[in-house]
């Protein structure tokens, strides 16, 4: 037995105080320490790669609260490994980006300490299979996010942060009901064991459990009509935090729907009318979110709000793909791959938006334009992000969207209901392309309006360039994560 995952969590848990102490002297040092810790985390995670790539899952268990049936089990398979690696990469990028982005705020030791807290929650969510520990990490994401949005956000940040907290916390308490009910009926809190044990549980209870979990996670994933918190929170947070919110936190919702709703609970109702209706409802919600997000993004004028609505749209895609998991493996893998690809692309997109806002002080796209000449590197990175979000071949999101759409038609063979939603999803990609390219066009091309615009410093450009490289890499070599995800099945 090895200790890679527990060592990783322990190291991350120790990071906030350490970062805070170092950060009292200098922001750069705090960011440096945090990045070093995150990089060490990534290294520790990658030690599990050989096991995971072979198709096994890697686990460590410790006794925690035996009386509640809770064994603290750390677990990675291909999906969770891919997502946690991407999370760490994005966190490092956001941390480096913050050093210059938040320069004007003075000493930000507590900001980096909160990022450290956030890292514990974000990584923890992906690497545990104990429901109670999962919930611990799930809620741990919330506190630092709240403080970061409220303290370092833009106008009216407190109200936005409050809304964010209450919405997602309300979702989380539904999750706790689901966890309680699962424990009650199966006497275990292990996701993998509970999946088997739930098969023998009466239908009515399983239905309730399924609904509680799914609604709870859908709030975090910002599925319409539970999305109200997202446009505000993502657009008012500081850019690096938006990158993490859109890049990782809502992906965690998608991951939870995959791991808990679909993998753990759904099999117990599979084949009944209820199970079928449930999947159809998810499919429709996915389609609806995709359209709702895309249309709102087209109608918005605020650079960050456009990107925020685009996140709703893309989570709609992911939900669509996840809902087809049981009828088409292709769509399911596509959805999980989309979580990874979207994380990188959207993270990059938000960072470029942050760079534009810092360089010009303007966030209304009607008052921006022609920045390509003043901020060439940002422009190129933003173009790459926009192409990826638009689903252009050769960029990250294309491959996963393609897999989901193919999978949709494949599953329409088994269940004719899926045909129309799949066709609608194909049409939705046009809207995605429209708003992404509109954003790029309005901000970087057309006539130059803000004369004093200046290119971002290297510390902000470097993370953007690296993420842009990653977007292209994932676009031309999707197998990088796809193999892992497929191996984890």
């Amino acid at each position: 037995m090895s200790y890679a995952l527990s060592a990783m969590l322990l190291l991350t848990t120790l990071s906030p105080p350490l970062v805070y102490i170092v950060g009292r002297r200098s922001n750069k040092a705090a960011a440096g320490v945090l990045c070093a810790i995150l990089a060490a985390d990534a290294f520790l995670l990658l030690t599990t790669l050989p096991t995971v790539a072979a198709g096994d899952s890697y686990t460590e268990s410790y006794y925690w609260i035996p009386i509640l049936g809770s064994i603290f089990t750390l677990f990675v398979d291909g999906t969770s490994l891919s997502l946690s690696i991407v999370t760490l990469a994005l966190m490092i990028a956001a941390t480096v980006f913050s050093t210059r982005y938040l320069e004007s705020e003075g000493n930000n030791a507590s900001y980096y300490a909160f990022l450290g807290f956030l890292a514990v929650g974000l990584v923890g969510v992906f690497v545990t299979s104990c429901l109670l520990a999962f919930y611990f990490f799930w809620e741990l994401m919330l506190i630092p996010s709240y403080f970061i949005i409220a303290k370092w956000g833009y106008s009216d940040a407190h109200r936005v942060a409050f809304k964010f907290f209450i919405f997602t916390h309300a979702g989380a308490v539904l999750v706790i009901l689901g966890i309680g009910a699962t424990f009650m009926t199966t006497n275990t809190l292990d996701m993998l064991q509970a999946g088997t044990l739930l098969l023998g549980v009466p239908d009515e209870t399983v239905r309730l459990i399924l609904i509680f979990f799914t609604i709870g996670f859908a709030v975090k994933m910002a599925i319409v009509p539970l999305h109200m918190w997202l446009p505000d929170a993502h657009s008012e947070a500081p850019a690096p935090m938006s990158a993490l919110l859109s890049g990782v936190i809502i992906e965690a919702g998608g991951y939870a729907i995959f791991r808990i709703s679909m993998r753990m609970v759904y099999p117990a109702v599979a084949g009944t009318w209820y199970g079928t209706d449930f999947l159809h409802a998810l499919t429709l919600l996915g389609v609806f979110s995709a359209y709702y997000g895309a249309l709102n993004a087209l109608a918005s004028e605020d650079i960050k709000r456009i990107i925020a609505y685009s996140s709703i749209s893309h989570m709609g895609y992911a939900l669509f793909g996840l809902s087809l998991l049981s009828t088409s493996t292709v769509a399911g893998s596509g959805a999980l791959l989309h979580l990874v690809n979207h994380a990188v692309s959207k993270g990059l997109f938000f960072l470029t938006a942050g760079s534009v806002m810092r360089g010009t002080g303007v966030r209304d796209v009607r008052r921006l334009g022609g920045l390509a000449s003043k901020m060439p590197v940002t422009a190129v990175c933003s173009a790459i992000a926009a192409f990826s979000i638009a689903g252009t071949p050769g960029f990250a999101c294309f491959m996963s969207e393609f897999l989901m759409l193919i999978g949709g038609f494949q599953s329409a063979n088994l269940d004719s209901f899926d045909l129309i939603p799949s066709a609608l999803m194909v049409v939705a990609t046009v809207l995605c392309a429209a708003y992404a390219l509109r954003l790029f066009w309005k901000v970087f091309l057309e006539k130059l309006q803000v004369e004093k615009a200046r290119e971002a410093p290297v510390a902000m450009l470097a993370p953007m360039i690296i993420l842009a490289g990653l977007v292209i890499l994932l676009g031309v070599w999707p197998r990088l994560f796809l193999d892992l995800i497929v191996a984890g099945k």
Binding site: W64, I65, I67, L68, M184
Partner: protein, 493 residues
């Protein structure tokens, strides 16, 4: 087999120390460094009674039977003699009282230290805790009643200690309500005695099960339960609580919410689960569930609209009673475990918040507005208040989360989904106003200057409780090890 003397040892030590301190008041007041002396005098009896409890626990756990009945008189007079009951639950409760009482009394000694007659205050506090311990060990309804009354009487002195007009009014309200409650209890007891010829828990219970016509007994227990509902401040019997907790000195509110409140829920558990076990004896579950909903909703909604922070926390105490009732209602081992865990964490949380507020009151802050920007001007007072707010909201990894999780799960286990859902909704409301508190403390510009920084020694008990909340949240097994034997006694044979 422990003797009566061994059982009452902690009470004797605490009450005896109280009397000694009270008698030595003039000397202690003139002593140099009187706060420190007082703290030591308060701490010593707590440690001594902890030792005696550990001894008692040893002899309890070394024998097989889950219940240890000790009575003063021998066999022929057993039914009418005062008797005591030691089981895992009462031992756990006494440990909780000692722990929370220790911390709140130390805070009280430091907080009231410079006040005139402060040794008297400490003496009353020690007496309150001491007699609650005796009440917890009691094995018949009359003994329970007597010790409970002594403890309440001592607490009157704690409430009016500062002799402010509003505290006098609050105390009068408390007095009238408690006397009314006592009257109801005594009336109920007289009926029970007339019908069963005994007030012993086990005798009453077996008589109740055997009795074919339960109407008279139900009447009697309605009186008893209403009486204890007043003491536990279940809505609509709660009117005294917000006034008392707001008007009394912060250290009193801390002590009462940490120890007296928990003791009154303990009594409810004893009476409801151990004597009136549903469905064998009387089926009170649905009725209590309704009270639970009313209590937590009232508490949370009133807390939501309060402007005075101390009053807000008082209403949170009421909401906590509602959560506790959810667990009592479930009548499951997990519910009792959740209850017992909540006694410790809920008591610590309310005590901690009252302690922080006491500190802030000393700095001249009363309302929510006053607290604006405390996070930047005096972080060390804002930090514990933030942590306790997050714990109240049920955010892991703090102890409040584990307690709420166990309680809601217990409701689900008892197949009362609706109750769990209402509880969860309430929990969200609670998060709402606590988040507003955090928001005000950290994200508003300071309205008032901080003229005096807080007394540093008062921060010691506060941070002790903060550490406790974090440790219990991350590793609840520490407390659950003591709790689970108590839960294994359910259902009662």
């Amino acid at each position: 087999m422990p003797t009566v003397l061994e059982l009452l040892m902690p009470t004797a030590i605490l009450a005896g120390a109280g009397v000694a301190i009270a008698l030595l008041t003039p000397l202690i007041e003139r002593a140099p460094g009187r706060e420190r002396l007082l703290t030591a005098l308060v701490a010593a009896p707590f440690l001594a009674s902890l030792v005696s409890i550990i001894n008692l626990g040893r002899s309890y756990y070394s024998q097989q039977s889950p219940f240890l009945n000790v009575s003063i008189a021998g066999q022929p007079y057993l039914a009418s003699s005062s008797s005591f009951l030691v089981d895992a639950m009462s031992i756990y409760m006494v440990v909780v009282y000692l722990f929370l009482g220790f911390i709140s009394c130390i805070y009280g000694a430091l907080y009231m230290g410079r006040h005139r007659f402060s040794p008297m205050y400490c003496a009353l506090a020690l007496t309150t805790v001491g007699f609650l311990i005796a009440g917890t060990f009691s094995g018949d309804l009359l003994t329970l009643f007597i010790f409970w009354e002594i403890a309440t009487t001592a607490s009157y002195g704690l409430i009016v200690f500062e002799k402010k007009p509003e505290s006098l009014e609050a105390c009068l309200k408390f007095l009238i309500m408690i006397v009314l409650g006592s009257g109801l209890i005594v009336y109920g007891l007289s009926i029970v005695y007339g019908l069963t010829g005994s007030l012993n828990f086990w005798a009453v219970r077996s008589a109740l099960i055997a009795e074919p016509d339960k109407r008279m007994l139900i009447t009697a227990f309605t009186f008893i339960a209403s009486g204890y509902a007043i003491e536990a401040a279940i809505v609509p019997f709660h009117m005294w609580l917000p006034d008392v907790y707001t008007a009394s000195p912060a250290s009193t509110s801390a002590l009462m919410s940490a120890v007296m409140d928990q003791a009154s829920y303990y009594v409810l558990i004893r009476v409801l689960i151990y004597i009136l076990t549903p469905p064998a004896v009387v089926n009170w579950v649905q009725a209590l569930a309704v009270f639970s909903v009313i209590t937590m909703t009232t508490g949370n909604l009133f807390a939501l609209v309060q402007d005075n922070v101390k009053r807000m926390i008082s209403y949170v105490c009421i909401a906590d009673i509602g959560y506790n009732l959810i667990a009592i209602t479930s009548v499951t081992p997990l519910g009792v475990e959740g209850n017992l865990f909540f006694f410790l964490t809920g008591g610590s949380m309310t005590a901690l918040s009252f302690m922080c507020i006491g500190l802030l009151n000393r700095m001249g802050f009363e309302t929510l507005e006053d607290l604006s920007g405390i996070g930047s001007t005096s972080l060390r007072t804002a930090l514990p208040l933030t942590i306790v707010a997050l714990s109240f909201s049920g955010i892991p990894p703090l102890a409040g989360f584990i307690a709420k999780y166990m309680i809601f799960t217990a409701a689900i286990e008892a197949n009362m989904w609706w109750l769990a859902v209402i509880g969860v909704v309430n929990s969200v409301i609670e998060t709402g106003y606590f988040l507003r508190l955090i928001h005000v403390m950290f994200f508003r510009t300071p309205k008032k200057d901080v003229k005096t920084q807080p007394q540093v020694n008062l921060l010691i008990p506060i941070y002790a409780l903060v550490v406790e909340l974090i440790v219990l949240g991350a590793c609840p097994s520490a407390a659950l090890a003591l709790i689970s034997p108590a839960a294994r006694q359910i259902p009662i044979p």
